[in-house]
Symmetry: C2
Subunit: 366 residues, 2 copies
């Protein structure tokens, strides 16, 4: 795979290379869109919370970590059932190394973060099996688009990430509703990807909504309303508003493909200014296929931060090499932005050092 | 009065000139802090709403006007009882001429705007006569400080304005509590400044709180809690967070002096990076004395946009020359920023032309 700095060009190498070139030495703004959905509480769907109710706290805790360097709404930091810490640790370390400004935007939350955040008028999401998952989609889209247009004037480019447990299941929902074959292709924060559970939830949701594969290809708003999550209209609106003016790095794994499908349906003209930025763990993942989904939507490049925690002195970080967590909170995109902004001065080794330093501080180990 | 572009140096000419020089050709970010207080509903206190209940709608409507070019939560635009339109018309025109990005931040609102806005966790303010005017002051201050620090990284300098009906009365409250003699010195949006009413409200509030002149000089948080408004901690926090890094133009009239007193008490070190930016109508106002208040607080410069609506073809704009409205929604500071950002290419004549164009559109006249 071609590369520059510690960034891999994982899809459409030519476009990926010229996209990264555009970011070189430029000033990014990182926006973390957070939201919650009851979908995350389906048994076995998500590793983002040890207990189902904990998934309500993961997004605000991640956002607090980015802005404060510690969480306020929970003790410690979000961890998987195995005790592996949130990828927000990667994001926070990358953004701090390159002094990248951070804003948080809410798509709809059950628990609000104890930090400043942009409110787009959204509400928490329901279980997609209801077929009636998200309220206020048009309104949130509109407000996020306005915010994206203003924020595009404050930076050379935007990097947008997300934190929403259950997000790959809702991604599968929206992709399916919009006619993109993503069955068995969305990623998971768990080493054993529960494709069957996700697929069952999506099928139940589409049936409840009276919809089927591809029936909402032309109606992105209804696709989100039926089987999506509240992060999606916030994220898609920001992209639509900003990418008309500046490059936008959509920072995330397979969830980004659902947002990409929405952006394409809302305003395909901006796609030329968009790339997906993720981690090597996602592009190398045998249990998902981010490229195979993107291929069906649009010819946008995929970049991947070549992170490698194999040599870490902490088992909790080595676990990333076993396919646990993989991505989230814009970790890959934030790492790419830190490398591009510093023209490669921030390397993957330096980043791992900073991540280990923060890991030790936050996990209370040496 | 010395000047550069169409900007007057109204206090501390030397510092004012060098402050403006720092802004020349640079990229500002405008933030409008909005909030509501029941204080505005005291009969005769405010012209910002024709009926007392209307004051709940003025701040969100002003914010919508800035971002959308029209209001959503009301028909038309906010007007005084005489039908004179909100100064947000000036702000919007100035920011658009110079393509300045805008964000809205809420300090605590009864009616939320139908646009994206930064939430600092504040709640609407009570009547200061209760002596218990604002909740959550420390928390809002802390969150606004965090936001200010992040936003300072996205622009060369910040321009911060406000919209809160009743704000000069609460300003008098906080100034008095902090030992600044502002009696008869705060401005008014009405041609007849109701100093007696404001003073009575402040006296009642301080008595109810068991406080008196200067008794809270060392406790800015409690000064706001007792007799302030929810715009203040949002605004002061943004200044404290941002002015540690970049220049901050505090855009407003005599209300800015209360925020200045808070900032001084919170972190006097940042005052060297701060100026007040207002309009000629405020600095020339015989019924108030912005310089006389600033003199008691800190040696910060005061700049004033030399706006002149005497030659306007609309009576509704000519009225500004009779002392109606005068300032608000950061109008003066936005005008100064538009002139500085364009190195004088935006003149007061050009600005009046754009304001008249928007006036005609929004007021439905020709």
């Amino acid at each position: 795979m071609k590369r520059e700095f510690d960034v891999l060009f994982a899809r459409n190498e030519f476009k990926a290379e010229s996209f990264l070139e555009e970011l070189r030495g430029k000033k990014p703004l990182f926006i973390c869109t957070i939201a919650t959905t009851e979908t995350a509480k389906i048994q076995g769907i998500s590793a983002a919370g040890k207990y189902p109710e904990f998934t309500d706290y993961t997004p605000p805790a991640d956002a607090e970590l980015l802005l404060l360097g510690k969480c306020k709404c929970i003790n410690g930091v979000p961890v998987t059932p195995e005790g592996i810490p949130t990828p927000a640790l990667i994001t926070m370390s990358a953004l701090r190394l390159a002094d990248v400004p951070v804003l948080v935007a809410s798509g709809g939350l059950k628990v609000k973060p104890q930090i400043p955040f942009l409110d787009f008028g959204g509400t928490p999401g329901r279980d997609i099996r209801s077929g009636n998952a998200v309220d206020n989609v048009s309104e949130v889209l509109e407000r996020a688009t306005i915010a994206g247009a203003q924020l595009a004037k404050t930076a050379d480019y935007l990097v947008i990430g997300e934190s929403i447990p259950g997000g790959t299941t809702t991604a599968l929902g929206v992709l399916t509703a919009m006619g993109v074959d993503a069955e068995g292709k969305v990623s998971s924060s768990m080493p054993e990807n529960p494709h069957g559970l996700k697929c069952d939830a999506v099928k139940a949701g589409l049936a409840a909504a009276g919809e089927g594969f591809g029936s909402l290809a032309g109606d992105p708003v209804r696709a989100v309303e039926c089987v999506g999550d509240p992060m999606m209209p916030a994220f898609a609106g920001l992209v639509v508003g900003a990418a008309a003016e500046v490059p936008v790095l959509m920072a995330g794994g397979t969830q980004m493909t659902a947002v990409l499908a929405l952006v394409k349906a809302l305003n395909a003209d901006v796609l030329c200014n968009v790339a997906v930025g993720t981690t090597r763990w996602v592009v190398d993942d045998a249990s998902s296929d981010v490229r195979g989904i993107v291929d069906q939507i649009a010819d946008v490049p995929v970049l991947a931060a070549d992170l490698d925690f194999g040599g870490s002195r902490f088992e909790g970080l080595q676990a990333y090499e076993k396919g646990i967590v993989k991505e989230g909170v814009g970790a890959g995109g934030a790492a790419i932005a830190a490398m591009a902004a510093t023209e490669g001065a921030v390397t993957k080794e330096m980043l791992l050092g900073e991540i280990e330093r923060n890991y030790a501080l936050l996990m209370g180990v040496k």
